[in-house]
Symmetry: C2
Subunit: 430 residues, 2 copies
Amino acid sequence: MAPETTASTALFTDHYELTMLGSALADDTGSRPCVFEVFARRLPSGRRYGVVAGTGRLLDAIADFRFGDAELAQLESTAVVDADTLAWLADYSFSGEIDGYPEGELFFPGSPVLTVRGTFADAVVLETLALSILNHDSAIASAAARMAGAANGRPIIEMGGRRTHEAAAVAAARASYLAGFATTSNLEAGRRYGIPTRGTVAHAFMLLHDSEEQAFRAQVEKMGTDTTLLVDTYDITAGIETAVRVAGPELGAIRIDSGDVGVLARKAREQLDSLGARDTRIVVSGDLDEHAIAALRAEPVDAYGVGTSVVTGSGAPTAGMVYKLVEVDGRPVAKRSTHKESRGGHKRVLRRHKPTGTALEEFVYPAGTDPERGEHDVEPQIPLARAGVPVDGLPSLDDGRARLRRALVSLPWEGLKLSPGDPAVPTVFG
Amino acid sequence: MAPETTASTALFTDHYELTMLGSALADDTGSRPCVFEVFARRLPSGRRYGVVAGTGRLLDAIADFRFGDAELAQLESTAVVDADTLAWLADYSFSGEIDGYPEGELFFPGSPVLTVRGTFADAVVLETLALSILNHDSAIASAAARMAGAANGRPIIEMGGRRTHEAAAVAAARASYLAGFATTSNLEAGRRYGIPTRGTVAHAFMLLHDSEEQAFRAQVEKMGTDTTLLVDTYDITAGIETAVRVAGPELGAIRIDSGDVGVLARKAREQLDSLGARDTRIVVSGDLDEHAIAALRAEPVDAYGVGTSVVTGSGAPTAGMVYKLVEVDGRPVAKRSTHKESRGGHKRVLRRHKPTGTALEEFVYPAGTDPERGEHDVEPQIPLARAGVPVDGLPSLDDGRARLRRALVSLPWEGLKLSPGDPAVPTVFG
C-alpha cells in the first residue's frame, strides 16, 4: 500500500477534471480565458450567515498542486489521460489570478467567495481541491462562530478531533480558532498553525489509579495546582471535596463532562466557594452545541469544551459551495435546463452598510459595471493570487479572527439569533 | 507555516493524552497493564446496523505513530510535556496487542469493535488516532451500505470528495468502496487503494464550447463513443437527440444531474430506445441519498452518482465511538457517576445465529469466561496486532467488501429496512 501522505495535492482531484482537460487540450478550447466562481446557492437551513474559512489552506494547497513522478505514473498506469495531457500536467502550475473573500469574512447565498481566472485548462483542475477545502473549513467556521457567539466571551476549547477524520481534525481546529474558539486539544493544529493547545486528563487517568485521591495527587504533583481536575468519575460532590483537599483552594479548575452540566455547575460553584476555592474555574464539556452553550449562559461556567458538534458543523457538515464556470472569452455562460442554474458572468460585490455600520445587503453586480457606491459600502473580495503566486501580505489567521469579530458586529441584531431564520442580509443581484 | 503533510501520525493526538502520560510515567502507574475498548454506545438515530471501516487505515497509522525530531521539538517548545516524557516518546512505538472487528463487519450498540491491550502508557496515546479513523470511516461505510442496498445491484460511483476535507475525501472513497460502491471519482483513492476511478465531464466542459454539439463531438473524439455524455446543460430532450446523433446508437451512457431524475430517466429511456440506442445506459446524480436511490428502484436507471450524502454519513457524520479504559491490572474499571457509565472489564463477543444463518444477537461477555457456544455462533473479533506488529494475512479491502455482503445477508429481513427502527439484533451482555 502506498503511504498515506504525499507532498503533492494534485490527486485530491476528481477524475472528470482531467478527462475534461484532455478533451479541451485536444480541441484547443483549453486555452480559452475563463472565469470560475465559488459560491453557495443557499445557507444551511435556518442559518443566518456563513463564515469563510480555508482560503489560507487553499493557497498553500494550490502551490503544492504539482504533478510529480508518482502522480503521473498513477495517471498513466490507469489510463486516466493520454500522453499529451500527461506532458501538459507535468509542466502544470497554476498561473492565473484568484480573488476572494478573506478568511473570517461573512458570506450569504450567492456571495462569490472565490473567483478564479485563467485558461480553462489552468483553472478547471482546481475545482475539487478548492471545494473540498472551502466547503469543509467554512462549514466548521460557520458552526463555530455561532458557538463562540453563544459563549458570549467565555472561552471554548475545541476537542472534537476524535469525531472526524484525523486530517480534517487539524483543519477543524484551525477553522474553530478562526471563528473565535480560544484553544484546541489537537496537537498537530498547534504545530501547523500555532494554535494554543490545552488538555489535562481523561477519565482513563482517573480509573487507572487506585482512588480518585491518588489520581488527583499524581496530577497535581506533575502539573501543579493550576490544573483542571476531572471531578465526575465517581461522585461529583465527593470529587470536588477531594480535589480542593488535594490541590488547595488555589486549584485552577474543575471539569464536569457528564450529567446536567448547568445544575451541576451551580452546585459545584456553591461547593467550591464554600471550600474557599473562589477562583477555581468550572469547565464543562460533553455533547455541547450552540444551543446548549446558550442555555448555560446564566450558569457559573467559566469555559466550555466542544467536540462532536463543531467538527461536524452542527448539523451542516458541508457548506454547499460549488465551483462554476461563469465566463468564457468574456461572454457569460450558465447552465439553463433546470432549477439549478446559476447566474453567468464574472461578478463583483459590494456589501452595503447604513451610516451606523449595520450591513444592509450583499450587492452582487457584473464585473465591468460601476454601481453607485455609498460611503459605507465595502468590497469583501481581495486579491489572493496574481500570475499564480499568492499576493504579498495576505491576512493571517489572527487577522481572520479580528475580521470576523468586526463583521459580526456589523450584522443587524436578528442576524445573530441562533433560531432558524432568513439570511441576515439579502443578496441582491445588480 | 509548516507543511501540511507529515509522515508521522503522532500529533493527530489530543493534548491531554500526553499530559496524562506524563503524570502516569511519573507515578509509575503508566506501566500498569490495561485494556481499552472502542465501542459505540448507540447507533445513529433509527439506524439498524453499523459497518466497521478504518481498521486497515488505523493499523498503518499506528505503524507511523512515532515521535520524530519535528514532533518532539513541537512538544518541547510548547511545554506540553517534560523532558522525561519527551525521552519516553522518542523511543515509543506501540508494542501491545490489538484485536478487533475486521472491516466490513457489522457492529451494534456496545460491540467492542477494537480492543487494545498494553501498558497504560503504550495504549493511552492511541486514543485520538484510533477514534478519528474509526469514527470517520465507519460513519461513511454505515451510510454507504444503506445506499448500496437501496441500489439493489446497480453500480454507484462515489463523487463526494468536493463536499468534505480533501484528505477525508480519500478515506470516504475507500469506506464507500468497502461498503459496496463500484467506483469513485477521487484520483488519490485510486492511487492509494487501487479503487477504480471514473469520470468524464462536468457542465463546465459543456459551457466552455460554443454549442452542446461541439462539446459532445470533442468528448467523443477524445474518449470514444463508449463515454458518458452530460445531457442536461440546456434542454434534455434536445441534448439526448444531439448525443445520439454525434456518438451514434453505440453511445455508452448519458448522465442527468438535475431535475426530477426519475421522470427524466423514464423519458430518456423511451427517447434513447426510439433512437435505437437501446444499450445506452442512464446515469443519474444530483443530491441522491439512500431514500432517493430507493425511490428510483423502479425507474430505468443504470447507475447512480452519489456525493454529499455519502461523505457526510447521510445525517450521521460520525459513528460515536469511544475509547474506554475497561481493565487495569486485571480488574474491571468503569466510570460510575452518571448515565454515561460503561461496562468495565475486557470483553469478548459471540454473534449468535439461527441454524438458517440469521443473526439472533450480539452476545458480549467477560473475557476469561466460557459461554456455551452454538454451532452457528461466530466471533467477530480477530487478532489485528501482536507485540505491536500487524498479524500476517490481514483481510484486504476486497475481503471487507465480501464480508459485508455476507453479513448483510445474515441480518433479519427488517434489519435491512431504510426506515428508522431498532438495531437489527439486540446486544446482550453476559
